[in-house]
Amino acid sequence: AQRVTQPEKLLSVFKGAPVELKCNYSYSGSPELFWYVQYSRQRLQLLLRHISRESIKGFTADLNKGETSFHLKKPFAQEEDSAMYYCALSDKGAQKLVFGQGTRLTINP
């Protein structure tokens, strides 16, 4: 069964410090992985996906099939990064996203 695990419900770091939000997945095929973000009072929106291999707002994520992980990283956190972050998996054969439970990231000044 498909499963996405985000082990940290809460993560707090200081501004300027590196950030890593962990995501592990369980899937037998070739998954497509995404990070979605929800800023305060805003809707859930796509941050990045592993296929595009791009950096968005300074965030990157690398798919590690050996460790079945898709951790989200940023070298220098900014206060505006405070938000709820969700890792999600898409099964090409299925018409749905499977979400992790989310990590609330707080950047302290």
Binding site: L44, Q45, Q95
Partner: protein, 114 residues
Amino acid sequence: EPEVTQTPSHQVTQMGQEVILRCVPISNHLYFYWYRQILGQKVEFLVSFYNNEISEKSEIFDDQFSVERPDGSNFTLKIRSTKLEDSAMYFCASSRDGPSSEAFFGQGTRLTVV
């Protein structure tokens, strides 16, 4: 920038009543979804809809639930005979090319069953 719109933003209903949650997906999108998030829990998939029919549904999406695209623009979720445990935030989403493409989410409807 086009957005997915959901109404109402908050709905309070009595247990046993029927509710209809409404969504207007982005106009050139072909895939539509409903997800829900019970307070403190993860976002859960309910149903996906493509080409005027359900393409996939979860175990949660039983006979109590139904979806409809009545007029080519709206996408509705009907919950019959609501239960206390149906209280949740319900999100509508749409995408152009299926789940591998970016899903655009609405602001959500908070359903409270009392």
